[in-house]
């Protein structure tokens, strides 16, 4: 068996190799990560439930099959965790919220079914911001499990709303995890925790069995050590699901490795939105420019591009308010919002009751031309690049707006791209103040995840930020 720390921070690809070479077993891996989750998970408020019994049963099955020469694929025997908004039979699914701590479902979410069918071993339900942040939290302490802490400096937030998946991957508690993003909830924790996060195109991954916040904007996707790992996971979970009418049949295949990482190959055209690195934390800006320099022989940069001037914020706000208030109308009606952790969440759902149906429908109608305009814009580039966040992680003890006062710049790409549902990836690209990681994001047209993976893989073949390990003792 490999040295313990190497296992904790090994990629899916590396763990798969160890399994195939019989240097470890699925049961050994499961036991190792289960122990690690139980020992360390609470330090980062990263874990809701350790699924030991299920994990050992799935691992035993994987081992039985591998002894018989049956190999289900690259996730065979690989442990993983899921954000606790995915239904899993036999365990509570809390949605990060006190009113739902004991909630149980009698079937697995489609994503969990697909990972299980691929030989994955579910070891944990991971922490999250209550109701995926749908009630408008404005501080890190917004979950019944406490504020998520980044393993790089536990005085700072792990990001949200997929706080547990980000922290658990970063701390080596799971090799990969599934998170969700309505607007920023995969990419933000990926950046704050120094891991790779891939937000798929809306509809590429079934939402069946996932908590709904905004039906027309919710996406599920992987957080892992590398873009390669995220691609492997996405290839398993993508695809049509009759139980989710919004899912599409396109599927996803891991793209072939880049044609050499040494400068040969097609140059990709990368747009840099105007102001992307202006008036943001200096270290974040410097890391962004350094990251682009790493890729300079393989990309053509187009600076100061401007997204179509459309009301992205207004559309997103209206859609999430209306759909969120409907999705949680039971909590609004019976007053259980008052049980939420963040004080602002206890009243945050009520204003949406003042949204009129024509205004909601107007937002949905405006989104059509918005989709076309943004697609026409994105067509001109292979991807857009921005710093994932304008700052490093927020301090745990402050409201977000007070965390890094004076930082008001950066380009708002996460919002517009989530409204229309196009994909994005964040890869770690260095460190800023307080030893906290920073992220580099790429965004592209709908269903062009392969381009994101290609860019992420290229960047990670030339840097070692994704291999850095926080001190987890």
């Amino acid at each position: 068996m490999a040295p313990p720390d190497d296992l904790a921070f090994a990629s899916v690809v590396e763990l798969g190799r160890l399994l195939r070479q019989k240097k470890t077993s699925a049961t050994e891996l499961a036991t190792y990560f289960l122990d690690r989750l139980e020992r360390t998970g609470s330090r980062y408020n990263a874990v809701v439930t350790v699924t030991r019994e299920r994990a050992l049963a799935e691992a035993a099955q994987a081992d039985r099959e591998s002894r018989q020469g049956k190999w289900r694929g690259p996730l065979h025997g690989i442990p993983y965790g899921v954000k606790d908004l995915l239904a899993t039979k036999g365990y509570p699914t809390s949605w990060g919220a006190a009113p739902y701590q004991q909630q149980k479902f009698d079937e697995d979410a489609t994503v969990v079914q697909r990972l299980g069918a691929a030989g994955g071993v579910l070891v944990a339900k991971l922490a999250m911001v209550e109701l995926a942040g749908g009630m408008g939290y404005n501080q890190p302490n917004a979950s019944f499990t406490g504020p998520g802490k980044t393993p790089w400096n536990p005085g700072y937030w792990s990001g949200g709303s997929s706080s547990g998946p980000g922290a658990a991957v970063a701390a080596g508690l799971v090799p990969f995890a599934i998170g969700s993003e309505t607007s920023g909830s995969i990419l933000t924790p990926a950046a704050y925790c120094g891991v790779t996060g891939l937000r798929p195109t809306y509809g590429l991954v079934s939402r069946h069995g996932a908590m709904a916040l905004a039906w027309t904007m919710d996406k599920l996707g992987p957080l892992g050590r590398t873009a390669e790992d995220c691609a492997i996971v996405l290839a398993i979970i993508a695809g049509k699901d009759p139980k989710d009418p919004s899912s599409v049949a396109r599927g996803f295949s891991v793209p072939p490795p880049p044609a050499g990482s040494g400068g040969q190959g097609v140059r990709m055209r990368i747009g840099i939105p105007k102001g992307a690195d202006k008036d943001i934390q200096p270290e974040v800006a410097a890391n962004f420019r350094q990251a682009l320099k790493v890729l300079e022989d393989r990309v053509e940069l187009v600076e100061d591009i401007e997204l179509p001037d459309l009301p992205y914020g207004a559309v997103a706000g209206m859609i999430i308010a209306a759909e969120g208030a409907s999705a949680f109308d039971d909590l609004l009606k019976d007053g259980r919002l008052s049980q939420l952790t963040a004080p602002e969440d206890r009243t945050g759902g009520y204003p949406a009751l003042a949204v009129s149906a024509p205004d909601y429908l107007r937002a949905l109608r405006v989104r059509r031309p918005m989709q076309r305009a943004l697609d026409d814009f994105l067509k001109k580039f292979d991807a857009l690049a921005v710093p994932t966040r304008a700052t490093v992680a927020s301090p745990l003890d402050k409201a977000f707006r007070d965390g890094w006062p004076g930082i008001t710049g950066g380009a708002n790409v996460i919002g517009p791209t989530n409204v229309v549902g196009v994909p994005g990836v964040s890869v770690p690209n260095g460190f800023g103040v307080q030893g906290l990681p920073t992220g580099l994001s790429f965004t592209t047209r709908a269903f062009d995840e392969a381009k994101l993976v290609t860019l992420g893989r290229l960047y990670q073949s030339r840097t070692d930020w994704h291999t850095r390990r926080p001190s987890v003792t």
Partner: protein, 104 residues
């Protein structure tokens, strides 16, 4: 309803950059008052907040109602932007209703 100036909208976006962990470019429902929100809430916002208060009597403190009113006011200002985008009668919502017929 009060209109929203480009300056105020830019201000809201700037705020969103500072605190956007859930919604980029979207004001949080119960956000603390900041520059664009320090104005007195509109009469419409106050009236709408009152309807919520009537719907759920005795559920809200004065501070709760103030936060709800600010949030409604903020959203009303955003709605203005929705109606500045030109669409036509033929622009349908981005979902498609499908008729259902079960097994015979």
């Amino acid at each position: 309803m009060d209109g929203i100036s480009r300056r105020a909208f830019a201000g809201q976006l700037a705020l969103a950059v500072a605190a956007p962990y859930f919604l980029e470019g979207v004001p949080t429902p119960a956000a603390k008052p900041q520059a664009p929100q320090q104005q007195e809430p509109s009469a419409l916002a106050k009236a709408l907040a009152q309807t919520i208060s009537v719907r759920y009597p005795e559920r809200f403190s004065a501070d709760d109602l103030a936060a709800i009113t600010r949030s409604i006011d903020n959203r009303l200002r955003q709605i203005e932007r929705l109606y500045q985008t030109q669409i036509t009668n033929a622009d349908e919502p981005d979902f498609v209703y499908s008729v259902y017929r079960g097994a015979d």
